[in-house]
């Protein structure tokens, strides 16, 4: 929390060239978080990095209003979220199934044997496919909730809604997800 207040102080009242230093500090501090948020949606390293760069370019364009930002972290996540959704909408032609399979293989599986890794990748793929089947709003809340850095209040700020809405969406998303996963498990067992 101290850190967030510090950044609010950095961003507060910075006209002209001093804002460049503030932006540089924001890059050092939050580029990684923004990349992870972008990657969780886009599932492509190059696209996620582009989204992060575009986010900071947008910040640069609005550097004069940096002093009005209360919580720079949430503000940045909101910008990158919008950038990512724009890109996602534009690049709808790419099949998502390939992305899910790739992402499931990329997830870390340290300390597991080869067989366990394969099984873990299949499990991850199953979960990600189930997440992809969720309604869009529930899906977004669920993805953002996985980030330890974001509280439900902050997710509400990012998505431009209330905390109670986020909580109810999250509850619904988790119920739907567990239902889908149970269903797929039953189907797998009956298939064997």
């Amino acid at each position: 929390m101290k850190e967030r207040q510090g950044h609010s102080e950095i961003a507060a009242g910075l006209p002209g060239e001093a804002s460049s230093a503030a932006i540089a500090a924001l890059v050092d501090e939050y580029a990684g978080t923004l990349y992870r948020v972008a990657y969780s949606v886009l599932r492509n390293a190059a696209d996620a990095e582009d989204a992060v760069q575009e986010t900071y370019i947008r910040v640069l364009r609005h550097r004069d209003s940096l002093g009005e930002i209360r919580d720079a972290r949430v503000w940045l996540v909101r910008i990158v979220w919008n950038v990512v959704l724009d890109r996602k909408r534009r690049a709808k032609t790419r099949p998502e199934t390939d992305d899910i399979a790739d992402l499931a293989r990329q997830l870390p599986a340290a300390g597991l044997s080869a067989e366990e890794r394969v099984a873990a990748a299949q499990r991850h793929e199953q979960v990600l496919r189930a997440v992809a089947q969720l309604p869009e709003k529930e899906q977004r809340v669920l993805m953002l909730s996985a980030f330890e850095e974001l509280s439900s209040v902050e997710i509400a700020q990012v998505l431009g809604t209330t905390e109670s809405t986020i909580r109810s969406r999250l509850f619904r998303a988790r119920n739907l997800l567990s239902g889908l996963l149970d269903q797929s498990k039953i189907l797998n067992r009956s298939g064997r």
């Binding site: 640069l60 991850h124 498990k185």
Partner: protein, 153 residues
């Protein structure tokens, strides 16, 4: 935010799996030197307006072009105005009053409504009479009439 919030039912196996997968996705490491590349991109974006400033020599040219176009438009409009307003004055000086017909129009019939035919010329144009040439005999032979052709065996 963890999955064990008060709103959630008893966590089961599926939920734990989903939680684990989403957490792993959220914790994927960023690529190496990401911040350096972002810094570079921002620096490039900041430099771009200065580069445009260097090439801003085109701006005066555009201003000159605009001024030239405006001057041209004004000249055209001025000349049109002078022609439009100057023509009737020149015409009125030489204009003769139109002849008025003394006879009143008869009711129920068409009449000329006072129009008087003015011949375009006072003197009729004398067209010199040219000598009429007879068609050459060779020309007449070249194309016989269909009747002649039909009469031939």
């Amino acid at each position: 935010m963890s999955w064990n919030s008060p709103n959630i039912d008893r966590p089961d196996e599926s939920r734990h799996e989903a939680e684990e997968t989403l957490r792993l996705v959220a914790e994927l490491p960023e690529p190496a030197q990401l911040t350096e590349r972002v810094h570079r991109r921002i620096a490039d974006a900041q430099v771009m307006p200065e580069r445009r400033g260097f090439w801003s020599l085109w701006l005066p040219a555009q201003r000159f072009q605009f001024a030239a176009a405006a001057a041209l438009a004004i000249a055209v409009a001025g000349s049109m105005w002078s022609v439009y307003h100057g023509h009737p004055q020149a015409g009125t000086a030489k204009q003769s009053p139109a002849p008025v017909q003394s006879t009143p129009p008869s009711a129920g019939h068409f009449d000329s409504a006072g129009a008087v035919r003015v011949p375009p010329t006072l003197k009729p144009i004398q067209v010199p009479q040219g000598s009429k040439k007879k068609p050459a005999a060779s020309h007449a032979k070249t194309k016989p009439s269909p009747k002649v052709l039909a009469a031939q065996p």
